[in-house]
């Protein structure tokens, strides 16, 4: 087990270097000199040169790439071009809001899709199964923007059931603002997840052990709960662990529409204001988190399923 973890950790290093370098390349081909943008219209060449040195833009590309890695390791990303705030502070305050929106939504969505997925897999081919699958396929054929727009317009604006948008940093005061975004988040993610879990359960249902359990006289429900669920846990667990970075990242569009000041909202504003350091740091951090959670899910995988280590 230990050897496996070390091997996976070592394997993560070239991936981390590859991803950060790719992002570094992408953000460095953007036309326009950040120093010029920062200095404003009436800057003298000396001022621009000072800013350039301050940002490390006078260094060769490998020096700048090394700076990015250093920023990632020390979690110090400098200041935003737009708000002049420290990016680390912006990200940590955004993460709280994103998490308050994402975490409850994630729990509710997972519970609903697991239970319904198990049920329709059990009664596969029935009217219930067909209706649920048809609905989720149809629901996925509409852009998520439409759900957000229509949900906000009808439920909040027209019928006044919820606040239209906004946020209260207070630990309790934030929830009235979050109910509708969470609801829409759940609604958006249930359809694809449901079909995913259904496929997983169906894959397991045709395994030999199910037939064995059935032939020794166990009822379908017992087989489902005691055998199938346990075996299906492996892909389910992977799916859940990998979703966690996205919770922290938040749902970009929902946050932007409901003005929840999370990381997603931060991204949308950074795109609009061409705020490069904020975009770089969020993408690099998001990628870093994704790699870590991928690693974690692989290790969990090996713990749950001993066959994995042998590969």
């Amino acid at each position: 087990m230990f050897a496996y973890i070390v091997r996976r950790l070592l394997y993560a290093i070239p991936i981390l270097l590859g991803t950060t370098f790719l992002l570094f390349l992408l953000f460095n081909v953007v036309p326009g000199d950040p120093a010029l943008q920062l200095a404003g219209k009436h800057a003298t060449p000396e001022v621009i040169q000072t800013i350039r040195i301050e940002l490390g833009l006078n260094k060769p590309w490998y020096g700048q790439y090394f700076d990015l890695l250093k920023q990632l390791m020390t979690f110090d990303f400098g200041r935003s071009y737009w708000t002049k705030q420290k990016i680390t502070d912006m990200i940590s305050s955004g993460a709280g809001a994103s998490f308050s929106l994402g975490f409850p939504a994630f729990i509710i969505e997972t519970a609903i899709s697991l239970i319904v997925g198990l049920m329709i897999a059990l009664y596969r081919g029935s009217l219930l199964d067909k209706t649920v699958v048809a609905f989720s396929v149809a629901a996925q054929s509409v852009s998520l923007l439409v759900y957000i727009l229509a949900g906000q317009y009808l439920l909040a604006y027209k019928w006044g059931l919820f606040p239209i948008s906004g946020y209260d940093p207070d630990l309790i005061g934030r929830w009235p603002y979050l109910v509708l975004p969470i609801g829409i988040f759940v609604f958006l993610s249930v359809a694809p997840e449901l079909r995913f879990y259904r496929t997983i359960f169906l894959d397991e249902l045709y395994q030999d052990y199910v037939r064995t359990a059935r032939s020794k006289g166990l009822g379908m429900k017992t087989v489902m709960l005691r055998h199938v669920l346990k075996n299906a846990m492996i892909p389910i667990l992977t799916n859940l662990v990998i979703s966690i970075p996205f919770l922290i990242l938040g749902s970009v569009l929902i946050e932007s529409f409901f003005q929840v000041p999370g990381l997603g909202d931060l991204i949308v504003k950074a795109i609009a204001n061409n705020d490069r350091p904020v975009l770089i740091s969020i993408t690099v951090l998001g990628t870093f988190a994704y790699i870590i959670f991928n690693l974690l899910s692989d290790i969990l995988y090996a713990m749950v399923d001993p066959r994995v280590q042998l590969k």
Binding site: I15, V30, S141, L279, T283
Partner: protein
């Protein structure tokens, strides 16, 4: 004797799959819908319909009016232009993004997957590293990074989508090539003197072609849906240069509060059948070809 010789002709995988697809009502209708959308896109491309979509034909944001003719059925936009014509123009943009992004993603995915699966060894290690690197960047963030690096526009959206969405296909193709390369028919081809390229293209590729077609169908769905979101974020089509469902939906985010719902409704209604058709078609194709799914 002659009639016997005629009877022996067996069913190939594809004739068998085509028969299954034709028997499947969903698949047939999906295919018809896809053809209709392709036809509309072609007509727009050759300037045969919706050419006058930029003309003002009435007041700003006039509500849908069924009595004033087809052009007024879905109301008018802020500049008094027909929403019906804008939606038709948008169909072209959507099909264009779907097609071009697939045409970028599919060849990359097939070539990468085939090389990795067929040769194994360091080629496999390298290609696996490349796509693991790509998949380890959350897709949405990568799309944004590429779109920002390349500047705004429909072409950017296509390239960004193409470059990010080949990985899933490459993985599937890689696994298939690994499985097939040591099968007897490939070994037989080798024994007869068939080189690597011949074995990959002539012998293995036809056996994985269905994965490519399913992949194409699914890429199209991703393309059409992502265009809307990237455009809303301000990374896609620019206002004034053509119309797109993404732009119409993005406009609605400001207009809805004034009760202007028709732009959003028209774009949604136009998008729904084609996305549904492509997803159902991919599913039906999978069912028709994969014998494991025939319970």
């Amino acid at each position: 004797m002659k009639f016997l010789a005629r009877k022996v002709k067996g069913n190939s995988l594809w004739s068998d799959a085509t028969r299954r697809l034709l028997n499947d009502n969903f698949a047939t209708w999906s295919f018809v819908i896809i053809l209709i959308y392709v036809a509309i896109a072609l007509l727009v491309y050759f300037n045969l319909i919706a050419t006058s979509w930029q003309e003002t034909i009435g007041g700003s944001r006039e509500a849908p009016d069924l009595s004033k003719g087809v052009l007024h059925w879905a109301g008018l936009d802020i500049f008094g232009r027909s929403v019906v014509l804008k939606t038709i123009q948008g169909t072209y943009t959507a099909m264009y993004v779907g097609l071009v992004s697939s045409l970028i993603a599919i060849p990359i995915g097939v070539v990468m997957g085939a090389l990795a699966g067929y040769f194994g060894g360091w080629v496999d290690d390298l290609i696996t590293w490349i796509y693991t690197t790509l998949t380890n960047i959350p897709e949405f963030l990568l799309l944004i990074a590429i779109a920002i690096a390349m500047g705004k526009g429909v072409t950017t959206v296509c390239i960004a989508l193409g470059v990010t969405s080949w990985v899933g296909l490459a993985r599937l193709i890689r696994a298939e090539f690994m499985k097939h390369k040591n099968r007897e028919y490939v070994l037989a081809a080798q024994a007869l003197g068939g080189g690597h390229v011949r074995r990959m293209l002539k012998h293995i590729f036809p056996n994985v072609l269905h994965i490519v077609i399913i992949g194409f169908s699914l890429r199209f769905v991703t393309g059409i849906k992502s265009e809307v979101i990237l455009t809303y974020l301000g990374l896609g089509a620019e206002i004034g240069k053509g119309s797109s469902w993404g732009l119409m939906i993005a406009d609605a985010s400001g207009e809805l509060i004034q009760g202007v719902w028709w732009g959003l409704a028209a774009a949604t209604l136009a998008m729904f059948p084609i996305v549904l058709a492509f997803s159902l078609f991919a599913d039906a194709l999978r069912d028709a070809i994969d014998p494991k799914l025939r319970h």
